[in-house]
Symmetry: C2
Subunit: 242 residues, 2 copies
């Protein structure tokens, strides 16, 4: 893990860009830590530069509550080498959703390889981040891509709680995977999300095997998550990570 | 409105029993109010005596957050004269649910007359409560019976926000009524509620016409609402009533 630049944000938050091999990431910590902080991994749909305004808002709110926050770029996104097959699947999905056509096959083609490629990278980032002196544990995962969060919740024992944003399609085969999730979950669903299948999200919520799961559904589209859900997520992690 | 007894609870909460005609009720206020408090009406399934432990817990939490709280007995429940037809419908519903038989006709027979009888009484209680010097406004409704909350949200303009507990059957005809609800709503759903129809609750949530609606679904049965939903309800009312 190699830090490339660092900035001091005006609320005492230290923001550091890093490279892990060729995977870029960002780490946010407080400048005034007295003890190693629990860590929240911030998930996103890919494209750190475009997602930065939303990510830094969430990161600042995490740091204000005593957590460290970190994220890494997804394979084939942002400044990383594109994948022609993923780009094609993404375009196919957009077309199919607009035309109201079935998407299952396209979702499998797009999301399963993404999950298979991204999850080991997030786990590698976790190794490197937990080796830093200012980061302790436990660890939470918060955000999208839904399917990445599901896989991480199943395979990564260092993740103790997850806030999953049901804002992306999940391959139907992963419903079985969801049954094996046993950590506390908070699932955010935008009720009128134009980029998602509401019934699929509800089926997935039903499938999660954990005994502690909560669904927060709010009116509005994909990007309309109400501000109060930020505080609500922090309280969820405070209950389970501190 | 006639106060019959009053008790000082140990956390500075004043609990007063009252009669409004022959309808018993309870009012909880702080002993140290400096200004008239916004009011939260606490809904319940009927039977104040049996419900008292849960109601007083919720009331204390409301008062601690600066609200007054009040409730009234439902028609045909607790110490009020029984209704033979309601008792019969209640027994029929229990049998039908246990046998997995359709319940729509029984729900209509049980819930519609209850809503028609109860809602004017809650509105009468509101008249009397808002005339007291220590209660101001605005007003929220919190709890069950779901159908009573829906009707109140539609017909009672003094209610500014409602937290509805989706723990009871709602007549299908009331879905149309739900479309007319325009106040902010927080709907609590116990995902594994043995006394309720989950799909019906989700359909009703979908139908609500208000632009500000949130669903909180949690694992567990009818009486298993997690303690953190109490704080969450208080924050909802703080956003909309203060």
């Amino acid at each position: 893990m190699r830090f490339t630049t660092q900035r001091r944000l005006d609320d005492g938050v230290l923001e550091r860009d890093f490279l892990l091999g060729d995977v870029p990431g960002i780490l946010w910590t407080t400048e005034s830590a007295s003890a190693p902080a629990p860590l929240i991994l911030l998930g996103h749909p890919g494209g750190l530069r475009a997602m930065y305004p939303r990510l830094v808002t969430r990161a600042r709110s995490c740091v204000a509550e005593g957590f460290a926050a970190a994220t890494v770029e997804l394979p084939g996104c942002g400044d990383r080498p594109r994948s022609a097959t993923a780009d094609e699947a993404r375009a196919d999905l957009r077309r199919a959703v607009r035309a109201g056509e079935p998407v299952d096959e396209i979702v499998d083609r797009l999301v399963l390889p993404l999950v298979d490629a991204a999850v080991p990278e997030w786990r590698g980032a976790l190794d490197a981040l937990l080796a830093l002196p200012d980061i302790g544990g436990p660890v939470g995962y918060a955000g999208g891509v839904m399917a990445i969060g599901v896989r991480l919740a199943v395979v990564e024992p260092r993740i103790s709680a997850a806030l999953l944003f049901a804002g992306s399609f999940v391959p139907r085969s992963m419903v079985e995977e969801a049954r094996r999730v046993s950590i506390p979950l908070l699932v955010l669903l935008q009720w009128d999300d134009e980029d998602n299948d509401r019934q699929m999200a509800l089926d997935l919520f039903d499938a999660f095997g954990t005994r502690q799961k909560t669904l927060h559904a709010n009116t509005g589209g994909h990007t309309g998550v109400p501000a109060f859900e930020g505080e609500s997520g922090n309280r969820f992690f405070a209950r389970h990570l501190t």
